[in-house]
Symmetry: C3
Amino acid sequence: MPEYVQVQVAIDDRAKAAELARSAVSARLAACAQIVGPVTSTYRWKGQVETAEEFLVLVKTTRERSVELVDHIRREHPYETPEIISLPVEGGLDAYLHWIDEETGPGGEARETGG
Amino acid sequence: MPEYVQVQVAIDDRAKAAELARSAVSARLAACAQIVGPVTSTYRWKGQVETAEEFLVLVKTTRERSVELVDHIRREHPYETPEIISLPVEGGLDAYLHWIDEETGPGGEARETGG
Amino acid sequence: MPEYVQVQVAIDDRAKAAELARSAVSARLAACAQIVGPVTSTYRWKGQVETAEEFLVLVKTTRERSVELVDHIRREHPYETPEIISLPVEGGLDAYLHWIDEETGPGGEARETGG
């Protein structure tokens, strides 16, 4: 199993998307997040196919932290059953993956306090 | 192997992207889809590197339904060899993943007919 | 392990994103790439949560070529530690996946020279 994931969240408002990204990074549940959109979502609702404007938030974290991150997003998200899916990251630039570890681990805060 | 996938499709027109999303959800081959873009695609054509405007469609379904979904997109898509790739979903919000099962399974229609 | 990957890169400028896409395809390190954005990135910098406008580049290649592709992007990218992550592709349209092989393999150039 790879050690990093990209958690993808859909939400209907840019400001709420920004707040999800900010709060996840602020709580060290993620190293960074990007907001993509607006996007057009298509889904079934009460038997009809509907569309709506949404934004996607792409959140980078470790697999270890991802359970806590999903719980956090669930609590902060206004929908009853929001799209929150986790996609595995199998590799990439080692220095960047190491930075995800630092930003989401307990060591990061100590280092920042120190400098 | 995870049980859910995000199928990603590239197509050159927003209306065609919307129709792919609508027809996949309508046929219960997917629970939902998002259209992202316009994006700028870069590829080689007859020895030259070309660019074109396209849209990406991100389609959520079960692994079990994904084979039928890919066949459906292939038939509806105007390109000879369209980009259709399937990315594994390894987790996320359990209630959302369960909703994908419901929306793509035979039970969903029965429930909706009932209420 | 699946044989194909989507390498995702974040970069702060559309022209630089286009040049990364062009150079990767031109060098046969990738079959194609899409530029998504602008997106809003959120990350921590010197203890503060910051945001910035960036673009995402989604690059399609084989797992075999992905190591060389990541090295290439690292060299061409202006950041010290850029986001370069690799997401596995587990399936899709067989003809499209085969096209990735052709476009990134040594055979592609021979065929193009011949026709």
